[in-house]
């Protein structure tokens, strides 16, 4: 096995045929980056239209298509592939493995995505337009979609197949490829959170596939899963969808918990406070995610017992999440803190994710949710947990590991600019939405009553600042990857307080196959 350390193949086809975890990690991350801008562009169309009351730029149908596509692209095209990309890059390096366990499947998992999203985006040009019934695709509204309908259903099937392949690979890698001495309770928290996320994906993506298959059958083959006339129930769709959908939101946040748990100890120069409790909290959150789904549908007219059960089970989630927030703060307590860009984004995550968590607890209270349901309050809530939550964690991860991946430091001054521009503008965008939401402005409308005008104008200004700030991020990454100068060479450890196999045992950048001989973990 002398040629284990062979380098990458030559030419562009290398990227099509590669089975290397670093190549595929980069492909996933660049794909996610592109989709982040595509979805972001759609968000700016939404915010431009909502800048003032009345109809300005787009017709209502197209506006609804934009809200639907923005969500589908950001969830399935940006955040999930970005996390998979990070898992590809980092898990083998963190557990002392040379590569992922199923390298060919890894390639296939990625190379389904460009096809799936080409199919999804092509619906923009079809008769009847792109899907406009919301990303949740509730029956019967979504059944009115034009030619786009079957293409959306199959695009979602493809994304699901890709996610399941990626997850099986992650599970097999973590359970089977750890270096000698790397026991489960020594694994870095990012690895733990991804292991649990992978289980969530394997358990829920097939359920989504089932739900959209039923939609397809109802539309084209005359079944009545979601039609009361035939004895079915439209609410049944919501139950099946959210049985997938709630674990899905934890799929979007658990790896973020992992990332933050890696970054904060480094820059606080203290080990993570309460490692074991972090692991158990993550597992508890994952378990609870399967028994809270109907809090997304408090207003559909469930039996009282159902409303109560889902209210209390939802509130329970605040306990393990609180454990995590407490542990992150305790890690920083009396630490020798410095505030490089990854740390800034991690702290931004901590503060603003917690804020989004609080509004989540508010909506868990069933009678109160009756007021908030489908208003901008929920839009504010999930954007707080997804933008300064999930997206900030991904950005933090890129700044944190980019010097390890490329061997060069990014520009710290520009990174700080990126953070402050993002952190301020994200609050300008989403904080006012709490107010208009509590004042009952409904979501998913192209127009609104005049009393909401001021806060909407502010939100739109914030959105444009946030959107354009991300171009700075793109510039910083491109400059670091391709145009770094020799004097910005990173050390192998990169960060003074960084611990773990990828910092202590590998060069910056690491070899094509990191650990051809497994390190011994003490």
């Amino acid at each position: 096995m002398s040629d284990h350390d062979h380098g990458p193949a030559k030419g562009l086809l290398r990227w099509v045929t590669t089975t290397n975890h670093k190549d595929l990690g980069s492909l996933y991350l660049w794909f996610a980056f592109i989709m982040f801008f595509v979805g972001g562009f759609m968000a700016l169309i939404i915010r431009a239209e909502l800048f003032e009351p009345g109809m300005q730029f787009v017709d209502p149908q197209f506006f609804n298509s934009m809200t639907t596509m923005h969500a589908l692209i950001m969830i399935f095209g940006a955040v999930m592939p970005a996390f998979v990309g990070l898992s590809n890059w980092l898990i083998p390096m963190m557990i002392g493995a040379p590569d992922m366990a199923l390298p060919r499947l890894n390639n296939w998992g990625f190379w389904i995505l460009p096809f799936a999203f080409a199919m999804l985006l092509s619906t923009l040009f079809m008769d009847g337009g792109a899907p406009a019934g919301g990303w949740t695709m509730y029956a019967p509204l979504v059944l009115q979609t034009g030619d786009a309908f079957p293409f959306v259903i199959f695009a979602i099937h493809l994304m699901g197949i890709s996610s399941i392949m990626g997850s099986i690979n992650v599970v097999a890698t973590i359970l089977n490829m750890r270096a000698p001495g790397m026991s489960l309770m020594k694994m870095p928290l990012f690895v733990w959170t991804w292991l649990i996320t992978a289980y969530l994906l394997i358990a829920t993506m097939p359920v989504l596939a089932g739900a959209v298959t039923m939609l397809l059958m109802d539309k084209f083959f005359g079944t009545s899963f979601f039609s009361a006339a035939g004895g079915g129930d439209p609410v049944l769709y919501q139950h099946i969808f959210w049985f997938f959908g709630h674990p899905e939101v934890y799929i979007l946040i658990l790896p973020a918990f992992g990332i933050v748990s890696m970054i904060i100890p480094t820059f606080a120069r203290k080990p993570l406070f309460g490692y074991a409790s972090m692991v158990y909290a993550t597992a508890s959150i994952a378990f609870l995610s399967f028994i809270v789904w109907a809090h997304h549908m408090f207003t559909v007219g469930m039996p009282l017992s159902g409303e109560l059960f889902f209210m209390f089970s939802t509130m329970l989630i605040a306990v393990p999440t609180g454990v995590k927030v407490f542990n992150w703060m305790a890690t920083m307590w009396r630490g020798a803190m410095t505030f490089e860009t990854p740390m800034l984004f991690a702290i931004g995550f901590l503060v603003m994710f917690t804020l989004g968590g609080f509004s989540g607890v508010m909506m868990a209270i069933t009678p109160v949710d009756f007021q908030y349901h489908d208003t901008y309050f929920i839009v504010a809530h999930f954007h707080y947990v997804l933008v300064p939550g999930a997206v900030f964690s991904i950005i933090a991860a890129v700044y944190y590991w980019l010097p390890k991946w490329t061997g060069y430091m990014y520009n710290e001054t520009l990174g700080k600019w990126h953070f402050w521009l993002s952190a301020i503008s994200v609050n300008i965008t989403f904080f006012p939405m709490h107010f208009v939401g509590l004042a009952a402005m409904p979501r998913r409308y192209a127009d609104y009553a005049v009393q909401y005008a001021d806060f909407n104008a502010i939100a739109s200004v914030g959105a444009f600042i946030f959107g354009f700030s991300q171009l700075l991020f793109l510039y910083i990454v491109i400059k670091t990857v391709w145009f770094s100068k020799q004097e910005s060479k990173a050390t192998d450890q990169v960060w003074e307080g960084a611990e773990g196999l990828e910092w202590e045992e590998l060069t910056s950048p690491p070899a094509y196959h990191s650990f051809t001989v497994p390190p011994v973990v003490k």
Partner: protein, 289 residues
Amino acid sequence: MAHSKDAYFVPHSTDYWPIVGSVGLVGMVGGFAAFLNGMPIGEISMIFGLVVFLIMFWGWFRVVIKESHAGLYSKQVDFTFRWGMGWFIFSEVMFFCAFFGALFYARSLSLPWLSGEGSGSITHENLWQTFEYVWPTNGPAGLGGDFEGMGPWGLPLINTLLLLSSGITLTWAHHAIVKGHRTQVIIGLFLTVLLGAIFMGFQVEEYIHAYKELNLTLETGIYGSTFFMLTGFHGFHVTMGAIMLAVILVRVCMGHFTPENHFAFEACAWYWHFVDVVWLGLFVFVYIM
């Protein structure tokens, strides 16, 4: 971590099969979507996609089998394959769960509500005052017209016995492969595939009976929807499983397996047992109850 000691396997061939698989997949589902929209390109694209997809399976497995025979796979790779197949089957279980969930929800919640019970009774009062819930039902509007439900004690019972026997013959083949008795493996596998094929024949018979004599179709309200989707997806999985076992049978005849190294056989056997168990669920919840 004893199993990490073996050297890691790095694929050295240039791997075009995944991208070929993607082209096949998108050709199939994109073609099907186009077909559903009545676009003429649909059928051609579906056939093209299917052919490419099958070529991919053939080519990909060929590479893997060659590598396996060349002794490139360590104990670690074997473990990986086991984890992979196990969790793949788990994902399939969850797919069936969605359809079983729909059946349970309709029968124990939404149909009683439609007939005036509990918190959903207002729909009954306003829209379907005469509806009484008796399973099987095609709903308050009687979609698809008068029909009869599928009884459990004719073909479905025979099918249950067939699938259970196929589980036994497969296990017999498994014991034989471990002991190195090739003739017994071949007979056992052949019987399993044969029982699967007879099962599928009876399923087709049952569908014809449903459509022609019972007026039970996909459009027969929630009963028809759940009946055909659950048994249909199960039948599809039986077909897949039987094809997989048939390939294994050919490979046994070609002498591909040893008493120590026969994971492909085991993976397909796991899959077959999973299909078996799903059928038991179907027999109880779809046919009997």
